[in-house]
């Protein structure tokens, strides 16, 4: 159902129809000021985001790690977290307090990481100290998962697994104590300015890493966070990547980019010639196939940062709708399972796509159409009836609008006193058939 974009009633209906197991989480980067988080958190909350990511990189960004110990600081007023990891909690506290005030929970977190092109090989101990602090804070804040990027700088080719095995297992006891799941993440490698596949970018290998870590942990303490942006930057087949990792994927970072430049844009905003530059079809197909029900983390920090603060409240609402759209698309079959019986509205390409992809598993009673000329005919094995035929349906029957004029038809049906109106959508189908109807 797409009505949430336009009215609040529609929003509530969608949230009820889903299992509510897929959590929508927003990254506060580019939106919330770490020292004055009030307005940013309020904007997110008012847009309907109830969950945010605790992003420790906002307190200890890449550039700070890159210059740690290199420069003489002129001001000592504000201690740098990279120099004093024990100060991380103080630094993050304003955002924690503000989220509590706004009743916004923080179920996922991101540990600090170095630049992709860093040449520094001396940051391992600091990263360990910072990550330990992150785990402790996560425990206090009720955060259940922490994304920890694998070590890469200074790691000799061939040693990646052994070095990272030790690195991740180092956090095992602390993670267990604080009830945190540590999530590995797929990486890009900087090949002299060209981002290519890095550590954990091979789905099958990453799955082995997670399994081996969990075997050593003797429990499911490690999982995977799939960064859709990194996949896109490396031109990866997201469906294949997702399916390789399957249920090990506990979180997905949803961000758009042009496929070449590292950035986090609102999905669907990186486009050319009216087409998105990111393989959303592959991502949605993959997450559907694997029954993804984890954390969907929306990161649109660069889009948000580029917008004027005056416009941000509107942008936040669009972002929320976008995340819900993904959640809805991923769980599309939940909609089909919701009603014991269904009827379609529309006897065109979308109806045909429904019948080809879902007709056998979820057969409709019939379809109806406003075109009088086809009443009484059959289309894709379904009888085409006039809209008036919907009036005699039982209360438990769902009506799926299979026509892009969703809102116009929805109003027509509401005016007829019809209930259980839902939208079907064929933009991200499990398969697309070659032949389309003319006209």
């Amino acid at each position: 159902m797409l009505a949430w974009i336009f009215d609040e009633e529609g929003d509530k209906r969608i949230l009820q129809q889903e299992d509510k197991r897929l959590e929508i989480i927003v990254s506060p980067r580019g939106i919330v000021d770490i020292e004055r988080p009030g307005q940013g958190v309020m904007d997110l909350s008012q847009a309907g985001f109830g969950q945010a990511m605790l992003d420790f990189t906002m307190c200890c960004p890449e550039y700070e790690l890159e210059s740690v110990g290199k420069r003489k600081r002129t001001s000592r007023k504000r201690p740098l977290v990279s120099e004093h990891p024990e100060k991380l909690y103080d630094k993050v506290r304003p955002i924690l307090d503000r989220c509590t005030q706004e009743e916004m929970s923080l179920p996922a977190a991101y540990a600090p990481y170095p630049c992709r092109d860093t040449k520094r090989e001396d940051l391992k101990e600091l990263l360990i100290r910072l990550t330990e602090e992150c785990i402790r804070i996560c425990g206090r804040a009720g955060c259940t998962s922490l994304i920890v990027r694998p070590l890469f700088s200074g790691v000799k080719p061939g040693d990646e697994w052994e070095v990272n095995r030790k690195y991740y297992l180092h956090f095992l006891d602390l993670a267990r104590e604080n009830q945190i799941m540590i999530l590995l993440e797929n990486q890009c490698r900087d090949q002299n300015g060209h981002l290519v596949r890095g550590i954990c970018a091979d789905g099958r290998e990453a799955a082995q890493w997670v399994d081996r870590l969990n075997e050593e942990a003797k429990e499911e303490r490690f999982g995977f966070c799939m960064d859709a942006g990194a996949c896109s930057l490396c031109g990866q087949d997201m469906q294949d990547f997702t399916c390789s990792l399957g249920k090990r994927i506990k979180a997905v970072i949803l961000r758009d980019c042009d496929g070449h430049t590292e950035c986090s844009m609102l999905p669907f905003t990186c486009a050319a010639g009216g087409q998105s530059l990111t393989d959303w079809l592959g991502l949605i197909r993959g997450l559907r196939e694997t029954g993804f029900d984890g954390q969907l983390i929306l990161d649109f920090s660069d889009t948000a940062g580029a917008f004027s603060p005056i416009l941000r409240p509107g942008l936040m609402k669009l972002a929320r709708s976008t995340a819900e759209y993904f959640s809805w698309q991923i769980g599309l079959e939940k909609l089909l399972r919701k009603y014991p019986s269904i009827v379609l509205f529309g006897a065109g390409n979308m109806c045909r796509n429904y019948m080809k992809c879902y007709g056998q598993q979820y057969p409709p009673l019939f379809t109806c159409d406003n075109n009088q000329a086809i009443w009484g005919t059959r289309f894709c094995g379904l009888e085409v009836k006039p809209p008036a035929a919907l009036k005699g349906l039982p209360d438990t029957c769902g009506i799926l609008i299979c026509n892009i004029y969703y809102r116009e038809i929805e109003k027509q049906l509401e005016d007829m006193g019809i209930h259980n109106i839902e939208f079907f959508n064929d933009e991200y189908m499990p398969a697309f058939h070659f032949d389309r109807l003319e006209g």
Binding site: R189, D202, G235, H260, A272, L281, R285
Partner: protein, 321 residues
């Protein structure tokens, strides 16, 4: 022993093939990748149009290519690989066109390949994941096509090689057919076991791998002995430009943004000793015609440099990979 080759496109012409092969030899090549695909261009196929070149009988085609064969032999150039016209399946192309591509173009290409005594023919896998729903289902269709060629491949002593390709998402080039080295190694082994012979191999395309951010060393190492032929060329990671290796940089340090070091390491690890074949025809159309010989020589020299790097006892090569 490692040899150096290049595409015949933009060098060897039907009007005087011998002169083209002579030019290749003079530039320093000993092998050539015969651009059979030039005779049925992909851009016209995507427009659902085709010429009548492959309507000719096998005898007529042999007659047509005889001067090429003689010219190559006279110049001492070995046609070690050729490129079958592509695509061999056009979604929405209709039954007539697709049957023609599959049954006529593909089969006649195999006979032409045998006529040249060329051991490898490179084919493109079908691009059908969008329509069919997964890469596995896409491969199943490609495999049907390869199965149909297998008896002919066996009879003619030709190995068919599939290459890593890309797809376009709004102009952003992403992973396409045959880009997962692990899967491809398994599939090639399964195919060859089923057909009781080494009939299927792999062609690693450096440019396509660079476009989709593949890890060259890991890809090549995973393929191992299944790697039979190469398409060596460079790009900016954005477009399929088919330029000379080491052309592109992206930082102020101006170091190569394509992982040529990984390429060499990978080839070394699998003890590659075949042909370093360049797929750089567009370079020849961008440089002035008057510089063609120098440009070809430079491409061959780049191959020579790779050759040195792959040697177990490399001399001083200037730039360290």
């Amino acid at each position: 022993m490692i040899s150096i080759g290049v595409q015949t496109k933009n060098v060897v012409y039907d009007s005087d093939p011998a002169a083209g092969y002579e030019m290749l030899k003079k530039a320093g090549f000993s092998c050539a990748d015969f651009s059979l695909n030039s005779y049925l261009p992909n851009f016209s196929l995507y427009q659902l149009e085709r010429n009548d070149f492959f309507d000719r009988s096998e005898a007529e085609l042999e007659q047509h290519f005889l001067p090429h064969k003689k010219g190559a032999e006279a110049a001492g150039i070995v046609i070690n690989q050729m490129h079958m016209p592509y695509p061999v399946y056009v979604p929405n192309g209709g039954t007539a066109l697709n049957e023609y591509l599959w049954n006529t173009v593909a089969r006649k290409s195999m006979y032409i390949c045998a006529f040249f005594q060329c051991p490898y023919i490179v084919v493109h896998g079908f691009k059908l994941a969008y329509n069919l729903g997964s890469e596995e289902m896409e491969w199943a269709q490609t495999e049907k096509f390869l199965d149909s060629l297998a008896p002919l491949a066996k009879e003619l002593h030709i190995m068919v090689c599939v290459e890593n390709l890309y797809n376009s998402i709004g102009g952003h080039l992403v992973e396409g057919p045959c880009c997962n080295a692990g899967k491809m190694a398994e599939r090639i082994d399964r195919f060859n076991a089923r057909h009781r012979g080494e009939l299927l191999g792999f062609c690693f395309d450096t440019g396509h791998a660079n476009l989709v951010g593949s890890d060259f060393e890991s890809f090549l190492t995973t393929l191992g002995h299944r790697l039979k032929v190469l398409h060596i060329h460079d790009n900016d990671g954005v477009g399929d430009l088919h330029q000379i290796p080491f052309t592109f940089t992206k930082t102020r340090e101006n170091t190569a943004s394509t992982d040529w070091s990984g390429f060499i390491k990978g080839l070394k690890r699998i003890h590659f000793d075949r042909v370093l074949s360049f797929e750089t025809a567009p370079v020849l159309s961008s440089f002035p015609q008057e510089m063609k010989e120098q440009v070809l020589r430079f491409i061959a020299d780049t191959g020579g440099y790779f050759c040195k790097c792959l040697s177990p006892f490399p001399g001083k090569t200037g730039q360290s990979l």
